[in-house]
Every structure is written in C-alpha cells, then in structure tokens.
C-alpha cells in the first residue's frame, strides 16, 4: 500500500434544516495515493460538492476524519494550519462567480501569494506571469484584464492559476468544465493532464460526466445519496461495472459512435429519481430504483466489500466473479 496523500475515514456531514436533518455525506471512506486522479461521480444532490467542501475546510465535518499527508485536518478552515491551506487547493465550477468581477487578474492572483507570503513583491509579479504562462495565457495581455473581459474557458484557466499559486500537491476540481463547451473543455482537460505530470499534482476530480472520467481519471468513485457505491480503477470500472447504479449511469450516457454503444451495459434501464436526502430510504439507499433488487435490500444496508484489488462495491447482491 503506497503512502496516502489524502485519506477520508467515515466522513459524515449533516445539515439541520426545517424539513429535517439532511445527511449530505453519510459515512464515506476513501484513500488517495500521490499522483492519483480520483473521479468522484454522481447525480446532483449526491453530496459530491459537499465532500470537496469538507475536505477543503469550508464546513467542519459532523463526524469522521480527514487525513492529509498523515495529519488530521478535520477542523474548519479557520483552525487549519496555513501550510495545509496552501497545499490543498480547490477550483470551483463556475469561474464567473468564483472570480471577483471588480478585480483585475493580477489582483486576483496576488491574493494567495500575499496570504502565503511567497517571495517579495517583485518575485510575485514574476510568479504571476509564470502562473499565467503555465496555464497557457499570454501574461502581459491578461494581467490587467478584468474577468468579464475574457471567455469562460480563460476564466477557468485563471481560477486554475490561482489554485496553483501556492504550489499545492492536491487540487480539488469541482466540476471545472461542466459550464463549458466541449471544445473548450478539451483544452482545459489537456492542460490539467499536462500540469499533473509537470507539477506532480494529485486531483480529486468531481464531475457528473462519466465519459470524461474514462479519459482523465486513474480511479473512479460513484456517489449516491451521500454514500459511495463503487470505487474501482478506471479500466476495471468501465469494463466490469458491478453496482446496479453504476450500470444505470453507464447505460444512460449519450454516446457518439457505435463502438461506444457496444461498451454500454444494456440491461439497466434508468428509472426513478434520486430520493430526497431528508428521508433516505431504509436499507440500501438505491433499492427504490434498483433493477436487481432482492428481498433483503429494503432492510439491510450493504457494507463496502473489496471484490478485486482496488475494486470496492457496496451492494447486497454481489456473489462472485461471475455474478448470479
């Protein structure tokens, strides 16, 4: 087992609301090795973003633990040591609202450098230019622009440059490309892959796009109603999906060629909707939509089981390599 960079143990996050307790994250555990790209995939309302926000410290977890390089970082961000904040950065979904419209790109990029006291002010200007070059934006042209003057893809590149300003080792990417067109997305994704290689980054990539994960992630985790359903290395995940929800997701993807069509599982037809996280169904939370439901599923909440090296599934009905 390689040394882990991030390990999440039994993380739970609840939000009390008027309607009742919302269990946004319900006891998830996973480990990330350095250099990993873990794709966290799920429908809206499954708790993907809350997971990222807990890890980055926007909320303190209700229970459970987050270990970053062996250090407990369960507390909210204002109690975290500063070096952890610099080492663990996040890029948000909508660059239009995560970049301050009243500040130039130079001002935006200078904040993390000032907060983390990187070099002198002259060094910082050089560093900002280097950062912009790193994300393939011509520095002299962009440094004094405002976010509204540049396109969506370029804004996301600036957001990425800001995240990289403090030389992080782990970057959380919260749906970084879902607001963008495919041709722009392709550019950003290639940039991300190149930066990962050059800067030895580890990514936790949150998305709802499984076909994107096929091309980017080294491991994929599926989340449903605050719980993880299946974690597997990418190739294994797409070739031998086990959990019925995974199969349903895979069969729902609209694809563009016959070769891809052949890869989709065809038995699992999508039905039903994600239940409200206020009253999660008893037993396996997926049983109301499951096509392979058995009698015990409504009562028995399945455990995470490792069925192959690195392939973990939470389902009552997995009975061996050949299935039933």
């Amino acid at each position: 087992m390689p040394e882990s960079i991030l390990s999440v143990e039994n993380l739970t996050k609840c939000f009390p609301t008027k309607q009742g307790l919302v269990r946004a994250i319900d006891g998830i555990s996973f480990v990330m090795a350095p250099g990993d790209t873990l794709g966290l995939v799920g429908e809206s309302g499954s708790g993907k973003t809350t997971t990222a926000q807990c890890i980055v410290g926007m909320y303190p977890p209700t229970s459970g633990d987050i270990l970053f390089k062996g250090e407990t970082i369960g507390a909210a961000f204002n109690r975290r040591p500063k070096h952890v904040k610099g080492d663990l950065r996040i890029v948000f979904q909508d660059p239009g609202s995560s970049l301050n419209p009243k500040r130039t790109i130079k001002q935006i990029l200078s904040v993390p450098l000032a907060v983390h006291r990187v070099g002198t002010s002259r060094d910082r200007l050089a560093r900002m230019k280097a950062l912009l070059e790193m994300v393939e934006l011509p520095a002299d042209e962009y440094l004094y622009k405002y976010p509204q003057a540049i396109g969506g893809g370029e804004k996301q590149m600036v957001a990425l440059a800001r995240a990289l300003a403090t030389n992080p080792s782990l970057v959380l990417l919260d749906e970084p490309t879902s607001a963008l067109d495919v041709s722009v997305q392709a550019k950003i994704i290639n940039l991300l892959i190149r930066l990962r290689r050059e800067l030895n980054l580890t990514y936790l990539f949150i998305t709802h796009d499984l076909s994107l994960m096929r091309n980017v992630a080294s491991r994929v985790a599926i989340m449903y109603l605050g719980k993880l359903c299946e974690i597997a290395p990418t190739v294994e995940f797409f070739e031998h999906p086990v959990h019925p929800y995974t199969k349903m997701l895979l069969s729902s993807i609209p694809v563009v060629s016959d070769e891809e069509e052949a890869l989709k599982p065809h038995k699992a037809i999508s039905k039903g909707e994600i239940p409200s996280p206020v009253n999660i169904p008893p037993g396996c939370s997926f049983h109301s939509r499951c096509s392979e439901r058995g009698d015990s599923c409504a009562e028995l909440d399945p455990e995470m089981r490792e069925i192959a090296p690195g392939h973990v599934v939470r389902c009552n009905h997995w009975c061996g390599p050949e299935g039933e």
Partner: protein, 326 residues
C-alpha cells in the same frame, strides 16, 4: 414541400456598441414527420434561430435583416399577428431549456395545463372541449410522460417538483395538443444523465406515436445521435454541415465538425484532442468570408474572401467548406 424552411436568415441585435450580426444566412429544413437536430456551441445562434421561428425574438434589440422562414409555404416573418398566434396555438409547440422559467411559479401545474388546452381547443364550434374533457386530457398528458400520480401533480406548484418532473410537465404541455412541429431548445441540458435518459426516451416514444416533426437544439452530439435522423452543425450563425445523423457523426467533413467531434470525451478512453484553437468570433466584427477561417487549420486565401456555398460530399450530406469544392 418541407414543413419548415428557413432560407438565408440574417438576424442581428442592435446594442450600444454597435450591430451584432449573429445569424448569417442560416438555412434549415424540416420535413413532415422528420426529426432534425441542430448542434452548436454556446453563442452560435441556436436559440436565436428557434426564437425567430417562433417569432418571439424581442425586437428591438433583435432585428431580422433578411431571409424567410416558410411554414408550409407561408412566411412566418410576414404573417399577421393573428396568423402567427394561430400557428403557435395549433401547429407549433416548444420546450425550453429551463423549466423553472417556462412554468409560472404562481399557478399550479393543473391551471397551466388547462389554460393551454383551453386556448388551443376550448374555442367555439365543434372542436370545443368541455371542462371535464380538458381535465381528463391534462391528466392523460401528464400520465403519458411517465409522471407518477398525475392527479396529485395537477395540484402542485412547479417549485414543489424536481427538475426532471418539471421538464416532464413542460413536455406534457407541449404535447398535450396535436401540434405538427415541436421545437425543443436544449430540453435536457439542466438534468442528470439518468433523468436525461428517461426524458429523452419518453420524448422519443411520444413523438413516434403522434408523428410530430421535431427540431431539437442541443450541444450534445450524443443526444442528437439518439433522437434524430438528420442534423445540422452550426458555427457562428451559419450552418457549416448537414447530413444524416449517423453518416455525419461517423465521418464529419467540415474542419469545425471534425474538431468538435475530436473534443468529445469517448467512453472508449482514446483520449481527448487539444480542442479547437481560438474562440467564437465577436459578432460586432465577424470575420469576412467563412466565419471559421481564423480558427481553421486548412485555411486558404479564398476562405477569407467569400463565404463558401454548400458542396455535396455524399447522399444528403453537404458541407460549407472550400476543401470539398471539386
């Protein structure tokens, strides 16, 4: 004769900075009973096209500079107010991207559905429906979309429904009367894949049953592949390529389409290309000639001068690119 024919449509917007020339001789045809897809990236003029067809573009700032939109041979742009109202009432129907914006938050689903049926069928004369019939039709329409418990949903407000349910209500509204042409503007963009799959399957079934012609606008190649027979690729206000969906997706010819197809992440895991260099042009000062030439890898001198006509590259497959001139 085609059911809907858009001919050399030029639409622009007058804004403070000047004149945005968005649609530049856009053309489009939908035959009776045909399902057509219109694919393009953000800001290429897809929604402007649909809005011109429905004649709901706010003018000003929008203005139709030239071109015709023929519906069964009659020009929508020159129709009387009454004529276009009748057309929208009986012939055309639309589903928009955001169901929260197309449903009125102040009225129940039932009220809104009944109003639509009353307006299109509750008039005088033989076609008139009684209140009870309207009620039954509404429930049947909701039921058709796969909505559980339609009687209860009729009394719900849109805010009480989930995104997928709201979109089902919009589909029920659109298909509750026998329209000939359905315009669907990004009907599933806001939805999760599993819900998108359900909605599209239902839409597919219903359209098949009723024989409605469909123009579906989207940026997802996969959705078009599942739902349509023929497709158009749009770039910066012009159609760059059209053909049968299967042929076009299997062998895209226009450099833009090729770039777009290579950018789509595949389930086979073959990797993603670098995307298309550059950005969509500024409509205040669009490039001369072919609007794609500043981003094109095969650019030739002629591309900068005049916009290419359509050149045929296969059965029903035409491309607006000088590479296929011969």
């Amino acid at each position: 004769m085609a059911l809907l024919e858009v001919k050399d449509l030029c639409v622009g917007y007058r804004i403070f900075e000047g004149h945005l020339r968005v649609l530049n001789r856009a053309r489009l045809e939908v035959d009776s009973g045909e399902r057509v897809g219109l694919v393009g990236e953000t800001g290429c003029g897809k929604t402007t096209t649909v809005k011109s067809i429905l004649r709901v573009l706010p003018t000003p700032p929008a203005e139709v500079a030239s071109g015709e939109i023929l519906y069964r041979g009659a020009d929508i742009l020159r129709m009387s107010h009454r004529g276009i109202r009748d057309l929208r009432r009986r012939e055309m129907t639309a589903i928009f991207q955001d169901p929260l914006q197309s449903l009125n938050p102040m009225f129940t689903v039932g009220t809104q559905l009944r109003d639509i049926l009353k307006d299109s069928m509750g008039g005088r004369g033989r076609g008139r429906l009684s209140r009870r019939e309207i009620e039954a039709r509404c429930i049947a329409a909701l039921h058709e979309t796969g909505m559980p418990d339609p009687e209860r949903i009729m009394h719900n407000y849109p805010s009480q429904l989930s995104g997928g349910m709201r979109q089902r209500v919009c589909i029920a509204e659109a298909l509750s009367r026998e329209a000939q042409l359905l315009l669907a503007d990004e009907p599933t963009t806001n939805l999760d894949v599993t819900i998108q799959d359900q909605i599209l399957r239902k839409l597919d079934e219903l359209v098949d049953e009723k024989g409605t012609s469909v123009l579906i606008i989207t940026h997802s190649m996969g959705v078009v592949r599942d739902l349509t027979q023929r497709m158009y690729i749009m770039y910066a206000g012009t159609m760059v390529e059209t053909g049968r969906t299967k042929d076009l997706l299997a062998a895209p010819r226009h450099p833009y389409t090729q770039g777009l197809m290579e950018s789509v992440p595949r389930l086979t895991g073959v990797g993603i290309s670098d995307g298309i260099p550059g950005r969509i042009p500024n409509y205040l000062d669009p490039p001369s000639g072919c609007r794609f030439h500043p981003r094109c890898v095969h650019v030739m001198p002629v591309c900068k001068e005049t916009a290419p006509e359509f050149f045929s590259v296969g059965e029903g497959h035409v491309v607006a690119c000088y590479l296929y001139r011969s």
